[in-house]
């Protein structure tokens, strides 16, 4: 009896997952996409949408989870750094091309995209480090206070960015060399999405190498396990905190530039990407990079599949499935997929 009750969330989750697979494969005839068996092309494209969007989610959320994992700081300004980098990169790109509107991808070389990306991400990283040094360092261990401070910074930055960059949506332009379409099961597919996934994979590999193959990375991981013991071994944790905040904000910035190229930047983008990052890390487990990857894939899947495979008249409810996913994951693993109690 009690054993059944304890396993209930897992059983429900397994049943929901099986039902979702069966629905997509055989039953989804009355949906925009149709069943996967009838329309394999649409299914493939939806799956690719899921994976490529997951790449963007991972870049944005990995920085958030990195900072939380080491410092237990819930950085509510993560979305602001995302948007700040986007605006800066757009400005740099426009300056490099010498025009502010009607930029065609064919005019944009890889350098015209990469340099603004690095500049934007570095500006976000420096801003993040200033936030950490000026506002958060003095409140170490006071998580609620830190969350409120970063929330206040978000409000101030949102206003300042509105003043500086205006209220209209702006777009970063992908380089022409990656802007093509390819055929997948008879469907046209934008290679820019694959490029976005490629950038995310490179970021993921670099992050893995840093955390596993460098001494500083090992210290960061050790600090996630036991900060005080790291200090007891003679390591200046404040320097490590500053570096990690820099890295986490840099990742937010790279995410922001990818996001601005993918779907543009506008007031409100900051809030929605803070929410996206939160959803990913809550699913994956706060503080775990592996969890950020897994959470991105799951969340990306739900985001891509729900509008395509919900019955046509119910497409509005796609967003609710996101929170259904959260509820299911947390019912089975209260700390997220790879999370653990603080």
């Amino acid at each position: 009896m009690t054993a059944t009750r304890r396993r209930l969330p897992a059983l429900v989750t397994a049943a929901v997952a099986a039902a979702a697979v069966a629905w997509v494969l055989f039953l989804a005839a009355d949906t925009p996409a149709g069943t996967a068996l009838d329309n394999p092309g649409t299914f493939m494209v939806t799956a690719l949408d899921a994976v490529t969007f997951a790449g963007l989610l991972f870049v944005a959320a990995s920085g958030f989870t990195l900072i939380f994992g080491l410092m237990r700081t819930v950085n509510m300004a993560h979305g602001s750094l995302f948007l700040l980098a986007a605006y800066v990169a757009i400005g740099v790109q426009q300056a490099m091309l010498g025009k502010t509107r009607n930029i065609e991808p064919s005019e944009v070389s890889l350098v015209d995209w990469l340099v603004p990306m690095l500049v934007g991400a570095t500006v976000a990283a420096l801003a993040g480090m200033v936030i950490q040094q000026v506002f958060l360092q003095w409140n170490e261990g006071q998580e609620l206070r830190q969350a409120l401070i970063t929330l206040a910074i978000t409000v101030v930055l949102a206003d300042q960015m509105l003043r500086e960059f205006g209220g209209l949506a702006q777009r970063m332009v992908w380089p022409g060399s990656v802007t093509h379409f390819i055929e997948i099961f008879g469907q046209r597919y934008a290679t820019t999405r694959l490029f976005m996934l490629g950038v995310a994979v490179v970021i993921g590999v670099l992050l893995w190498l840093w955390l596993n193959k460098t001494r500083l990375g090992l210290v960061v991981r050790a600090g996630v396990d036991d900060r005080q013991m790291v200090r007891g071994l003679g390591i200046n944790i404040r320097v490590v905190f500053a570096v990690v905040f820099f890295a986490g904000a840099f990742l937010a910035g790279v995410g922001g530039v990818l996001g601005a190229s993918f779907s543009g930047a506008a007031p409100g983008t900051d809030g929605s990407w803070l929410l996206n990052s939160l959803v990913v890390v809550i699913i994956g487990g706060l503080g775990s990079i592996k969890g950020a990857a897994a959470g991105s894939l799951l969340y990306g899947t739900v985001v891509a599949f729900s509008p395509a495979y919900l019955p046509t008249q119910y497409s509005y409810y796609a967003i609710i499935l996101t929170f259904g996913l959260l509820a299911l994951v947390l019912a089975v693993r209260p700390y997220g997929l790879y999370g653990r109690p603080a």
């Binding site: 001494r215 090992l218 991981r221 013991m229 200090r231 007891g232 003679g234």
Partner: protein
């Protein structure tokens, strides 16, 4: 002029909030192994934590080579020469044995990862295992080895023999002797009298936040009355030594 002792503690006070745990601790040691024994709750771990800066003392002095270090941050104290092997080992659960040592290796240090593997060959066989997957004995060896890499002058160990098989305790005892031979001092806090006596020739007894008495060698092993008084252990703890209480070599601190 007389040379300052390696470690000198004068009137050390520490506690948590309003509750004072260390009342007034005095202790001096040179390059030697010294044991601190006492019952649970007498302040042994608090003494360790306040020496290494995990718990800033509320009063008194801690001098290392004659220089005050009390109130400094843990990282500064570790750099000035005190390494800590805490109770429960506190390894990094997600790091492998190799990574624990790689994280602390610096060029030009006296102790290197290969030295640690030489001292504890068992660890060399577990290089790729994570801290959380090691046996208790292996964890203790790694915590010890990790502390060695700091090239400290003094290693503070809190309950190293806790929960370990006798064969593993033997390995630790040998390692402590080896260290002292190499010129590294060891302050070992123990509840297990037999282990403490084998590691350190000098035993300080801690009672209610003070050092109450000092004993040399295995004096205490022959004194069930004192064991009862200071450690609260029953007279016969599998002791094969004769229990004659003729030598009253206690020196009150």
């Amino acid at each position: 002029m007389t040379e300052a002792p390696l470690l000198e503690v004068r009137g050390l006070r520490a506690g948590y909030g309003a509750s004072v745990v260390l009342e007034d601790v005095d202790l001096r040691m040179g390059v030697e192994a010294v044991g601190v024994i006492g019952r649970n709750g007498m302040g042994k771990t608090t003494l360790c934590d306040s020496l290494v800066g995990f718990l800033p003392p509320s009063g008194g002095r801690v001098l290392l080579h004659g220089k005050p270090i009390e109130g400094r941050t843990p990282e500064k104290i570790a750099r000035s020469g005190i390494a800590y092997v805490p109770q429960g080992r506190r390894l990094f659960t997600s790091l492998t044995v190799d990574e624990h040592l790689a994280m602390l290796s610096r060029r030009g240090r006296r102790w290197t990862a290969p030295d640690v593997y030489k001292l504890f060959p068992r660890l060399a066989e577990r290089k790729r295992h994570r801290g959380g997957d090691l046996s208790g004995g292996e964890q203790q060896m790694l915590a010890f080895g990790r502390a060695l890499l700091l090239d400290a002058d003094l290693i503070v160990m809190d309950e190293p023999s806790e929960g370990l098989a006798p064969a593993i305790v033997d390995v630790l005892v040998d390692a402590v002797h080896h260290l002292v031979d190499e010129g590294v001092a060891v302050l070992v806090v123990e509840q297990n009298l037999r282990a403490a006596v084998r590691m350190a020739p000098r035993q300080l007894v801690m009672v209610s936040g003070r050092i109450e008495a000092e004993f040399a060698g295995d004096e205490l092993l022959d004194r069930p009355d004192l064991q009862q008084q200071y450690l609260g252990v029953g007279a016969a703890t599998g002791d094969d030594a004769p229990t004659d209480a003729q030598k009253a070599g206690t020196t009150d601190a």
